[in-house]
């Protein structure tokens, strides 16, 4: 199954990446190669197999509904590329 450049462009859009012409070229080729390799999983008979979700088989891990406030708001905002009155500022979002 061949992967087209258009598919890579579509995937890049989903992943919010801008790719240059060369990158599209390169990644199309890479994906082709990697997925061809990955297709070997189809040789495995998985009839009746459950999917592994998480590496260990455990369930029901819950937290108690108790407030533990995070003390330092400043430190949470310190890395913001742009902020205004305690909020992260971004270009105007049009509805």
């Amino acid at each position: 199954m061949a992967i087209s450049k258009e598919e890579i462009i579509h995937i890049a859009k989903l992943a919010c990446l801008n790719l240059s012409e060369e990158e599209i070229e390169q990644y199309t080729k890479d994906m082709q190669e990697i997925l061809e390799f990955a297709n070997r999983i189809n040789q495995v008979n998985t009839e009746g197999m459950d999917e592994t979700i998480g590496a260990n088989r455990k369930d029901n891990v819950f937290r108690k509904d108790e407030v533990i406030p995070f003390a330092n708001r400043e430190i949470l905002l310190q890395n913001a590329p742009s902020q205004d009155e305690g909020m992260f500022s971004i270009p105007k979002v049009i509805h």
Partner: protein
Amino acid sequence: MAKEDYEIVIGLEVHCELSTKTKIFCSCPTDFGGEPNTHCCPVCMAMPGALPVLNEKVVEYAVKAGLATNCNIEKNSKNDRKNYFYPDNPKSYQISQFDKPLCYDGFVTIETDKGEKQIRIERIHIEEDAGKLNHDDYGRGSFVDLNRAGVPLIEVVSKPDMRSAIEAESYMRKLKSIFEYIGISDCKMQEGSLRADVNVSVRKKGTEQLGTRTEMKNMNSFRSIVRAINYEAERQIEIIENGGDITQETLRWDDISGKTFSMRDKEDAEDYRYFPEPDLVSIKLSDTYIENIKGNLPELPESRKKRYLEEFGLTEKAANFVTSSKYYSNLFEEAIEICHNPKTVGNLLMSDIARILNEREEEPEDLKFTGKELGELVILIDQGTISSAIAKKVLEELFNEVKMPSDIIQEKGWIQISDEGAIKEIVVKILEANPQSIIDFKAGKSKALGFLVGQAMKETKGKANPQMLNKLFLEELKK
């Protein structure tokens, strides 16, 4: 074809914020308000390396919601990631549920003019709320506040079973009422803790196939839901009548212009790439767990209604009304504990209290007085201390300030005059001032009595006991 030849088909996705103390995946408070980004931590701010841990109360509340809406409970459930980029979605994925919602295949019953109707519920799942984008009017930009990010939600997805805006409203009111009864949400629509995505399509009556639907997101008042559905249905019918096709799209309802608008075309086709959340483990619910929640559910509206009909002899209409809201129903029960007069309490709720709320554009949960005040008010009526006219005035006062009705009437001097001597004096005075009325009465014009009583009421500012007035006027007139 005319508008009447079409049928409207409506489905609702209702989002309801759960009233847990903390967020769904971290220990930050869920309180409404607060300075921006103060109810946040590394988890809900999606800092690198932070991990979610599920709040046990969220599962419990969702199961409660499912049981109260006749759903099956999924015993082997899990969380999934829904991937999309938006500034109010800090991880760029929302932790939700995809193919194993906690609750599925339920229904609620609504009242329609043709009787009761079941609206089927496809599923109820848990997920996290998004943050808030603030916009300023000066075009400087938008601002992200993540206080709401991670507040727990349930999403209740109905089947497309509603056929009118009124039915959609009744369904939503019913859900609101049930969720209030079981105490899982404060359902405050103005704060956005109850809101709906409304799917509308139309089809010619008698056809089976569903028409193409449009979706209006984040509707948070009953009034706009009704208006939006009616507008959208008419718009769609007009397009079809003119030979056009409906485009499946997300619309924005504008409350001011009363119109829907097409949202800016999303640049990318939506592909949420759902997959099981690897940072969380599966949710396995035992029969004991489910039975335990079932056993501890509070009495639901249907059962209360039955009781009110059978034990208290309320009319169907009154029973429906009183149980339509937990706040009415609780007020009712508290009041009759005190006054033992269910009928009068029911009538006051259905007529005066509902009217005043409506005038004030408030909801039952905004009622500030309790059954203590309402119960005493009814006792005062029953004892003849105040007339029903005064009772209305006392209620108005109760909406402004919560005080005991006996204190209100004392302060305002609204105590009914039931002293026969005092009333007789007034009767004599009025008769002396209106000789023509005596002549009219004797000539058989019974309206004259009404006039005289009215005059006496005016004289006493409504405080005279009307029955006694009637009686004494008749006695004097017949002399």
